[in-house]
Symmetry: C2
Subunit: 199 residues, 2 copies
DNA sequence: CGACGAAGTGAAACGTGTTCCTATTATGTC
DNA sequence: GACATAATAGGAACACGTTTCACTTCGTCG
């Protein structure tokens, strides 16, 4: 494999290494929360994580890898939190709207963090494929579960709809992050897309 | 107005200035075509456009402004080319697919250029609002025209659908640019979205 | 024509992502 | 415990976007 990858938690043998990785991601989230994309400076991350710059680059080969990995970890938390409880809402549309809006509200509560993670996600190129794929799968599976809780045999249309909804949600988020649309507009865009797609 | 803006063609009084602006955008497109986002280096653009670096920054306050402005100019060309001829296809779905696929094919013929412009569009923040807005309007109007040629009274659903389609198209393009999906997958994503939305 | 302000030039300098190199420290093996 | 290997620290150096500044050129007005 010639792709440059971030070291995942499983790759790391020793507890000290997992601990280092965690400190790095914590520092990333902390800096991103305070000042957004620009505040996540590699030297600052290294210092706050108490790690040398070279070590940081050994764990994450670029700032983008670092931020997308952090996004992945956050998304896993969200997905895990949603996985267990049953979702409110009587039909797929209601449940999907619930999930997307709840997630959106969560992100809007942390504008800087959201800005940093979204920008990174959008700027990522092919070398970040793995990390991106992780996030994409989590998003799709959150949406399909909301559409059909507990169902394992999804039609290709189900998956296609989930994908389109994911696209719309991401675009809306980018619009919000970049100051082009308000929180209400994001909400509305999601509702409209859901209404158009889930009947 | 406190926003930092690119100088638009209309702002520029003298012919020499319009000429400079054109040279800058030409150089941008040329470099982007050869080597993509990374190859569009501000010093290189300035040199190729035969303009001082400071002047380049006076015309376009950042690399992102520069690239999004270039995207706007390219989009205007495409939109103008489509505006006049009648579109093939008997129903809205066929015509929308025609427009999106034709545009997509055009962009895929110039992978580096597409990569550069798409990355810039996705990375743009609030300070690029105006330039982004131009592009967004062109895209929406291309799509609504494809849906209902010649119609002026569009329903809010028409606009909403066009917007969702635009989102899907952009996401698909980002996926392609970043090596996550193939040209066929982009095609397919578009068709699926159109099929789901236009009935 | 001459003066004055705006626009353009050229080059230096700064900030931050990234790379590289050497010395030091952990880690695992016999 | 001694050694080989890998991982980390520490820091210099490089690349490119961006800023700054002193100077020159251009266009316009009196």
């Amino acid at each position: 494999m010639s792709t440059v990858n971030s070291l995942t938690a499983e790759d790391l043998g020793s507890a000290a290494q997992r601990e280092r990785r965690k400190r790095i991601l914590d520092a990333t989230i902390s800096l991103a929360t305070q000042g957004g994309f620009d505040a996540v400076q590699m030297r600052a991350v290294a210092e706050q994580a108490d790690v040398a710059l070279g070590t940081l680059y050994r764990y994450f080969p670029s700032k983008i890898h670092l931020l997308v990995s952090a996004l992945g970890r956050e998304f896993e938390r969200v997905e895990a939190a949603l996985r267990d409880k049953p979702l409110p809402g009587d039909d797929p549309a209601d449940r999907v709207i619930y999930v997307l809006k709840k997630t959106t509200r969560g992100m809007q509560g942390d504008p800087h963090l959201t800005e940093a993670l979204t920008r990174a996600f959008m700027f990522a190129d092919a070398s970040v494929q793995n990390e991106i794929h992780t996030v994409g799968m989590l998003l799709t599976s959150m949406l399909t579960r909301a559409m059909h809780p507990g169902r394992t045999d999804l039609t290709s249309d189900d998956v296609a709809i989930a994908r389109v909804l994911g696209d719309v949600w991401l675009s809306a988020l980018v619009g919000w992050v970049t100051g082009r649309s308000s929180a209400e507009e994001v909400s509305e865009q999601i509702e409209v897309a859901v209404r158009l797609l889930l009947r």
